[in-house]
Amino acid sequence: MNLRIIGALVAKDLSLFFRNRFFALITVLGLVVYMVIYFIMPKAVNENLEIGLYAPVVLPAFEQMQEEGLEIEVIESEELLKEGVTEGQYVAGVVLPADIMEDFMSGQKPKISVYFAPDVPEEIRDAVGVLIRELAYQQTGQALTIEITEEILGPDLAGMQIPPRDRMRPLFAVLLIMMETFGMANLISEEVERRTINALLVTPVSVKDLFFAKGITGVSLAFVQAALFMAIIGGMSRQPLIILTALLLGAVLVTGAGFIVAALSKGFMSVLAWGMIILIILFIPAFGIMFPGAVTGWVKAIPSYYLVDTVHRASNFGAGWGDVWYNLVVLLGADLALAWIGIMALRRKLR
């Protein structure tokens, strides 16, 4: 390999990348937009359960619960309460009957209505039901006759909840990296379609130099953007070395993906089409961060899972090398595999 030649090729590719208005725009815009979204998202976790209450007589026990993580807002009418629940202002709306105290006194069961929005998870419904029974018991002064045992499944993250914007942090960083699949693939595809590659291959440029230069360009573009993003939003305050390593391996991963897309594509539109398919596949694991429990074990077959998981755990929970080494090894393996497949596919196309 010839470093002078590789340097010239990388400089040319970077220059051409930023002269392509589309890719220059999505690169700069992506970086800016993700940062703006990050900074306008809530930076604290709201752990309160907001419940609307319509009650002609507010029970003392309900007032007491305000201080225990519940936000109970008293509503003027049952209709307004229903409206608030429908619009998502409250996770539940509770209606206490006017004669509730009399019912309690006389030992009769009062009839309490609870409204839920259609998308409220089952566990919230159960929790609100339990809560109301608890309040009723507190109000009547009768002791609970059941014994509750708690079991924590998986890591106990109580008190470690992540603010929404920090939950999105690895997602944005990974998305920035993934977007470079398009840029990388387009650079190579244009080189082939416009036959400039033929002009290069009758100079002292070897095929190895060419792939190496393209690889450096792709990795640089993806890595620098993601690292810059993480640095600006303070995402590297914990375990910066691990995060940088993961982002670097992620950048290599998308460069390999870019080679494959370039080998499959003929022109700009097919780069976009194939790139989108690869992007969606690589993006799936990121949903696991946004919506924990939404994705199942099979996502671990997608190499980007190990990137997302590493960045998430290192930046949000301070996971160390001992915690993420397995992820990094798998990611490295996936890098080598994807780069090899991409280079072989491109060599075949060039022939």
């Binding site: 002078r4 030649i5 010239a8 090729l9 040319k12 220059s15 051409l16 002269r19 392509n20 416009r194 036959r195 400039t196 033929n198 002009a199 290069l200 291959l201 009758v202 100079t203 002292p204 440029v205 070897s206």
Partner: protein, 288 residues
């Protein structure tokens, strides 16, 4: 005596079952211009690809400047310049950027890009993006690009195709200047007149084989016929064509008879063209 810059020995190349180059052998001396002619699909481009290191021959050997091309691709490619028929420039870059980029690849640090552009008639347009150039300007820039490393062997594929007469003439002059400098020129073209005018020797390629290789003069002598073309006045006042084949034992008598018996209005000699010779040899035209 000049050494051979290019030596092809039994070069063979197949695309699957199709034999594109069928055991061809030839040599080109340093400082010589070889016109490489043949119809589409004759194997010219495959031959050039083998000679420039883009393809490895399936059989035989190509030697450039004393080096086996297959074994010394990088070294060989440092000493050659290639001008393609199809435009393949970086269109988002300026002409100067294109030339400087390729100069860097060759390790040339002292390129006077402006002077090179002036040589191909692009003075003052060096900073414009190539995308804004006309086809002719792009073609001239491609020729300039092939010269950035002052190549010892220059491969030119249809360098004047589609150009206006002035641009074509300026490129022909550059080819001759390069020959004067000592460069060997391997010129692939369909333009018989251009090949005739520029080439020291021409090679005819047909169906993967070289069917003739000699100077244009010798080819005409061996395969062509010279003739006198005359227009004579008829009794009715019209004009008729007469032809007398030259270089035969009957020629002197036929010429005498023409002037004695006919009223000759115009007369001129006509030489065989390379195209006629190619058709004579192969039985097919160059365009097909």
């Amino acid at each position: 005596m000049a050494h051979d810059a290019i030596v092809a020995e039994e070069l063979t190349y197949r695309y699957g079952e199709l034999v594109a180059v069928d055991g061809i052998s030839f040599n080109v001396a340093e400082g010589e211009i070889l016109g490489f002619l043949g119809p589409n699909g004759a194997g010219k481009t495959t031959t050039v690809k083998i000679l420039t290191g883009q393809l490895k021959p399936k059989g035989g050997k190509a030697t450039l400047l004393g080096m086996d091309v297959a074994k010394n691709v990088d070294k060989v490619q440092g000493d050659i310049g290639v001008c393609f028929e199809v435009t393949n420039l970086y269109e988002q870059m300026s002409a100067i950027e294109n030339l400087r980029f390729f100069a860097r690849l060759f390790g040339v640090h002292s390129l006077d890009a402006e002077a090179l552009l002036a040589r191909v008639g692009l003075a003052g347009r060096g900073k414009d993006r190539v995308a804004t150039y006309s086809k002719g300007m792009k073609q001239r820039l491609m020729v300039a690009r092939s010269l950035v490393n002052r190549p010892r062997v220059l491969f030119l594929d249809e360098p004047t195709a589609g150009l206006d007469p002035t641009s074509s003439e300026s490129i022909r002059n550059i080819i001759l200047q390069e020959r004067e400098r000592g460069a060997t020129v391997f010129l692939t073209t369909h333009d018989m007149l251009e090949a005739d005018k520029l080439s020291d020797r021409v090679a005819f390629m047909n169906q993967g084989k070289i069917v003739a290789l000699d100077t244009p003069h010798n080819l005409k002598q061996q395969h062509g016929k010279r003739a006198l073309k005359a227009k004579i006045s008829t009794e009715s006042g019209g004009l008729e064509d007469r032809e007398v084949i030259l270089d035969t034992p009957e020629t002197p008598g036929a010429v005498q008879e023409l002037f004695a018996r006919e009223k000759v209005v115009t007369i001129h000699s006509e030489e065989a063209t390379l195209e006629h010779i190619f058709i004579n040899i192969t039985g097919r035209g160059l365009q097909g």
